[in-house]
């Protein structure tokens, strides 16, 4: 008997219309289908055609609808009426807001542009914001890379012309062994999840190296629960095992890397440690065919890995020999590193053996011929199916640059970069250091800056220093304290501006950066700096201009708020000039466009910058007669040309059929919208591997406008610019570091990979590493204002490993006081067995200040949630010489968040997590008591 059942409509209409744009719930930038009903957003799903996410979408992306309707959205420009930090504001008109901003900014520009410090946080329009800052004329511009990824970006680009993070990816279709280091789920997350899924489907192996076994490490076949900050040591041990067994790709090393390049092995000379070059400046190798030196790129040359030359009494030896000597040093042996890494030596050896087995015994070839830059044609593409990826766990340590270097050296020794099955770059990478600009910092009244702010120093000559040798930039980027700080140091701006070191600024202009809370180390200290007054009662940082879409903790600390739109209400471009969305086999870019109109008096920040530029008649934005070139950001995206024919978007240029290069096309945005909000240019087969050396790729890249001429290059096992900084520290050259930094530069800025402890200054009584990671369902502080996401992560316990849990007699529901040399917090704890025995951790940025984000004061985020930031200072404790060094990587200035060490004790549960701060006055009120609605064509709402 078949029982009666209700008849249901299994084919209801899904929506009135789908509008395709780009997600902005994190930095992943997936394509989304926004389903509209009655002109309202009804549902958001992934766009199947999009190169980044191919239809899938994470929790944040699907929850975008709750971000667009969040009660925390700012509604109108705000002028501060109470003291800073009180949250008392008055709504003003845009005209008043913009005129106020111009009144602040224009005099600075006319007299001394560097008095404006303009720093952007989660900005996805850096090529535009930097262009604005450059035309304003201040050198004090950067985005958030300095506390995010700079040491890995720098290590990657200096070593191999491309980096981890989202700038490259494993060859998911071919790799058989994937090893990930410190990869949390906060960047490139959907592509990595999709890739891991693909590996699992094929039965490939995943090895996770991470003190914490969650997320990707939870599904890893092997988990290496390494002690924080020792990854480099572990990698050096792997390298040593592989080298001793001869498990390296000699052909790859000799052809595609600077392993055969000859190095001046003299001591104490101005050229010591530099490459032997010919008159044209080409690095020389020994040609095995002739036994004589020859330029590395000479047609037919067979570079000798073991080359040696004596000329005029100077011995020149190949980079390879120096590298072997370094890597075989006994302190890098598996047995020597095991205890420090928290990984048994036999496990290190087994992993090395597995890497070697897969790389060499499972090597394969794709039957695709290609021609290299020396003109040699290869009948096939050799593949080594081992790939590596790394992120935050490497970058957030003071030894992150060198650790990342070591990891790249491991990849290169195995010959697994840009080969089938290995790690592949995404356009515009590969791109050698030579193709990047150098830093520029010369500001003059009423003039644009002399060039792009950020770049890659080739040596001391490129540092951003004044004539007296002091830092030219407010953040001290490109100074002797961190010469290769290629992303700037946003995390130092407020502290430096407050201390007047190197100088004071007049106006601090921030965009989307929650510096008064989770985006700062030493959060309470930063709040004090922002509100501190001088002897006259004036604020030490006189004016703070801030743009954000939401009522974050930072709002209360600004004087003038320029409210931004949400991501579905704006134009944006995800540009090849910036941080594009390319795949290893395709260049791609994308736009956002207003799929809905704002229901508040808010404006897209980039359009506001254009308005300000037009009012101030900034060059670059206005013609000789002072007429505006661009009416708003959409107009800029279409019309702006960085070089003739090259603009923010590569697709549909000229008459609509031109790609990469072509005149501005007024219909370009419409064409993007028709195409699903993005554009893809596929790399032809045969050009899609071996890209740095592949003539077909180089030609394709020139055609697309990524380069103006082919620029093949060698991977830099030995980074000569680093040696130049060492030479300066040894006393050579005009530009000399201050004496107190000489030894550190000599020791750390080593052109060969090395490992040094990240915690050189640590007090032994703080023995426990404390880390944070970002949950997959949250992004920075944004998730807490999202009614769906905050139910998933509304509180964050501090997770303790089994030994610590038992030692202190903790039980579920207990609390602990956690102390660092800088401060203490009292927080709830929980047990985690899959955790390095010397490590505790928590989810990042769950804790919120009362009054922010339109949450009620009893929100768990504000009563139980907490930040580790209170324990971390931007400076390390005082040294024996009385100096306080920055808590950062000495090479790139990368903030060393993960070098935190603490003590833990069990305490009685307090009423709230400590420290607790007083509530801010909310500028948007509180959210509604109930959400229960759907959008229906008949207009019914509940």
């Amino acid at each position: 008997m078949i029982p009666r059942q209700p008849q249901i409509d299994t084919s209801p209409p899904v929506s009135d219309e789908i509008r395709k744009t780009t997600c902005y719930m994190c930095a992943c930038r997936c394509g989304i289908n926004v389903h509209m009903k009655d002109g309202e957003v009804a549902y958001i799903e992934g766009n199947r055609d999009h190169p980044v996410n191919r239809g899938v979408l994470c929790a944040k992306g699907s929850a975008g609808i709750m971000q667009v309707t969040a009660p925390s959205r700012l509604r109108a420009p705000l002028k501060r009426t109470g003291p800073r930090g009180s949250g008392e504001f008055q709504e003003i008109s845009w005209e008043e807001a913009l005129e106020t901003a111009v009144q602040w900014l224009e005099p600075i520009r006319k007299s001394n542009p560097e008095k404006l410090a303009f720093f952007t946080g989660r900005d996805q329009s850096q090529s535009f914001t930097s262009f604005w800052a450059q035309n304003f004329g201040t050198q004090n511009y950067a985005a958030h890379g300095g506390f995010c990824s700079v040491n890995m970006a720098a290590a990657g680009i200096y070593t191999m012309g491309g980096a981890f993070w989202e700038f490259g990816q494993p060859d998911w279709e071919h790799t058989k062994l994937f090893m990930l280091f410190g990869v949390a789920e906060d960047h490139d997350s959907n592509p990595i999840k999709m890739g891991i899924g693909r590996l699992k489907e094929r039965g490939a192996k995943v090895i996770g190296v991470n003190p914490i076994r969650t997320g990707y490490n939870a599904v890893a076949d092997e988990w290496v629960g390494i002690t924080p900050g020792t990854d480099g040591l572990f990698v050096m041990a792997l390298i040593q095992e592989l080298l001793k067994a001869g498990k390296i790709d000699l052909a790859y090393l000799s052809q595609f890397t600077n392993a055969p390049v000859l190095v001046d092995c003299s001591e104490g000379q101005a050229t010591s440690g530099l490459f032997l070059r010919d008159e044209a400046g080409k690095a020389l190798v020994i040609d095995r065919a002739t036994g004589k030196p020859a330029p590395f790129d000479q047609k037919g040359v067979k570079p000798d890995l073991n080359g040696r030359l004596e000329r005029d009494g100077t011995v020149y030896r190949s980079v390879f020999q120096l590298l072997v000597e370094r890597c075989l040093e006994p302190h890098y042996a598996a047995d020597a590193v095991a205890e420090r890494c928290g990984v048994p030596a036999d496990r290190i050896r087994a992993i090395a053996a597995e890497i070697a087995r897969v790389a060499f015994e499972e090597a394969f070839s794709l039957p695709v011929a290609w021609t290299d830059f020396r003109g040699q044609t290869h009948a096939e593409m050799v593949g080594r199916p081992v790939s590596f990826h790394a992120m935050r766990g490497i970058s957030a340590h003071a030894n992150g640059f060198q650790t990342c270097r070591a990891l790249h050296i491991l990849q290169i020794l195995l010959g697994t970069v840009e080969v089938p099955g290995g790690f592949r770059f995404k356009p515009p990478y590969p791109k050698p250091v030579e193709a990047h600009p150098t830093p520029h910092s010369k500001s003059l009244p009423d003039r644009p800056l002399d060039g792009p702010h950020l770049g890659f120093p080739r040596g001391p000559e490129d540092l951003a220093l004044r004539d007296d040798g002091t830092p030219a930039r407010i953040d001290k980027a490109f100074s002797w304290e961190n010469p290769m700080s290629v992303h700037g140091l946003m995390h130092m701006v407020i502290a430096n501006a407050h201390a007047g070191d190197p100088y004071h600024v007049d106006t601090l202009f921030l965009y989307m950066a929650n510096m008064a809370w989770n985006s700062s180390m030493n959060t309470a200290g930063v709040m004090e700096m922002l509100t501190d007054t001088d002897e006259n009662g004036d604020y030490v940082i006189p004016r703070i201009l801030y743009s954000d879409a939401y009522s974050s903790e930072m709002i209360a600390y600004a004087d003038l708020i320029l409210p931004d739109t949400t991501y579905l209400e704006r134009h944006d471009c995800i540009s090849l000039l910036d941080r594009p969305i390319c795949e290893a086999e395709a260049a791609a870019d994308a736009i956002r466009w207003p799929v809905i109109e704002p229901d508040r008096d808010v404006r897209g920040f980039q359009s506001v910058l254009i308005d300000l530029a037009n009012r101030m008649k900034l060059p670059g934005f206005t013609d000789e007669d002072g007429n505006a070139k661009y009416t708003d950001y959409a107009d800029y995206i279409v019309k702006h040309e960085r070089k003739p024919g090259i603009g923010p978007l590569a697709g549909f240029r000229g008459n609509g059929s031109e790609t990469g290069r072509g005149a501005p096309n007024p219909q370009q945005l419409d064409r993007y919208i028709e195409n699903g909000g993005f554009f893809v240019a596929h790399i032809p087969q045969g050009a899609d591997y071996y890209k740095p050396w592949n003539a077909a790729y180089q030609d394709w890249a020139v055609g697309l406008g990524l380069f103006d001429a082919p620029q093949p290059y060698l991977f830099q096992l030995y980074v000569e610019p680093m040696r130049k900084f060492q030479l300066a520290a040894e006393g050579h050259g005009d530009r000399q570091p201050p004496d107190h930094l000489r030894e550190r530069i000599k020791a750390r800025i080593d052109p060969l990979p090395l490992w040094y402890p990240a915690h050189a200054e640590a007090d032994d009584s703080y023995s426990i590493h404390a880390l944070t990671q970002r949950p997959m369902a949250m992004y920075h502080s944004w998730g807490s204002q999202n009614a769906w996401l905050r139910q998933i992560h509304g509180v964050n316990p501090l997770y303790l490993p089994t030994a610590l849990w038992r030692e202190h007699g903790f039980e579920d529901g207990d609390w602990a006081r956690v102390t660092s040399p800088h401060g203490e917090i009292t927080v709830p704890v929980a047990h985690h067995g899959g955790l390095n025995a010397e490590t505790v951790w928590t989810w990042n940025a769950i804790g919120k200040r009362k009054g922010a984000w339109a949450l009620s004061d009893d929100a768990p985020e504000a009563t139980k949630g907490f930040l580790l930031n209170h324990l971390i200072h931007e400076l390390l404790p005082e040294r024996a010489d009385g100096l306080r060094w920055a808590n950062s990587d000495p090479i790139t200035g990368q903030a060393a968040w993960f070098d935190l060490k603490v003590r833990i004790e069990k305490v009685a549960p307090p009423a709230e997590a400590q420290p607790a701060f007083g509530p801010l006055k909310s500028v948007v009120g509180e959210g509604p008591p109930i959400l229960s609605r759907h959008t229906h064509a008949n207009g019914s709402r509940r």
Partner: protein, 290 residues
């Protein structure tokens, strides 16, 4: 399980009410006229009041009438029908007793049987649930019935029947507790069977799916301290069984009977609170309960 007042009142009051109706149906006491009227007001007040209380927890009361539709499969639906039949049958019987001063025995016996069946079906709503092992035992209907009849006997002033029934109910209550405490283990559900991860080792909750609470946790994951529960059991047993029996043995007066009944009611309410509060739903395993 969450000890919601609505279900505690429902099972307790309707149990007593139908217990009394069952006695009235078999002519115990054989009352008529005004006296009968008072008895029936009490019986209907308890039975109907209990039934009404049960609707307090409904999320969507307008569909309550549909609860009569699934008598083939659903104990709750059966209970709805049986209660209506019982109330109608006893209504006829009561009408005869109150207005005609006649006791139509066949109707009374049918009404009594339906009243007992109603209590049985109420108990089966719980006893059928494999997900709550403490309830899912043969003694559950016996417990409900014995308490219902003992209470009914007390209300019917059938002291000589009430005493043995109370003693019997007490024994069953003790047996039910004893058995109930073992049921979860016997049922065999653990986090290992719930997740299938037992082959690796003994799983434990690492993170809940949401850091806040939800309907399931509010409804089905209720934790009562073991010491606290033991104390409450003692109080419940004393109030529900021991004190009434002593009162009935010591004195035949109305005051003693009244106190015995009030004590029994209070004890039953506490016992019912425990019935829910101590009942562990297997879904709790997924949330790290147990």
């Amino acid at each position: 399980m969450h000890p919601a007042p609505s279900v505690i009142l429902f099972t307790t009051l309707s149990g007593l009410g139908f217990g009394l109706l069952a006695f009235l149906g078999i002519g115990q006491p054989p009352v008529t006229g005004w006296v009968a009227f008072v008895f029936y007001v009490i019986a209907y007040g308890l039975a109907v009041g209990g039934l009404l209380a049960s609707t307090f927890h409904l999320g969507n009361r307008k569909n309550a009438i549909k609860a009569f539709s699934q008598w083939r499969t659903s104990w709750l639906s059966r209970e709805a029908w049986l209660s209506v039949f019982a109330l109608v049958a006893m209504g006829l019987y009561a009408a005869g007793a109150v207005f005609g001063s006649v006791l139509i025995a066949p109707i009374g016996i049918i009404g009594a049987a339906l009243s007992v069946a109603t209590v049985y079906s109420t108990s089966m709503i719980y006893a059928q649930l494999k997900t709550v092992p403490r309830w899912n035992q043969p003694l559950t209907p016996v417990l409900f019935l014995s308490l219902s009849l003992a209470g009914g006997a007390m209300l019917a002033a059938a002291t000589m029947v009430a005493i043995p029934l109370l003693v019997l109910a007490g024994v069953i209550q003790l047996a039910w507790w004893w058995q109930g405490d073992r049921r979860f283990g016997e049922a065999g559900s653990t986090l290992a069977t719930a997740t299938g991860l037992g082959a690796i080792g003994t799983p434990r909750q690492f993170e809940p799916p949401h850091t806040g609470t939800n309907y399931l946790m509010k409804e089905m994951v209720f934790v009562v301290g073991r010491k606290h529960a033991r104390k409450l059991r003692t109080i419940a047993f004393a109030a529900m069984i021991v004190f009434p029996v002593l009162m009935l043995l010591v004195s035949g007066g109305h005051l003693a009977a009244g106190l015995a009944i009030l004590s029994h009611l209070a004890g039953t309410l506490i016992s019912r609170w425990l019935y829910f509060a101590e009942a562990e739903h297997v879904v709790g395993l997924y949330y790290g309960a147990r």
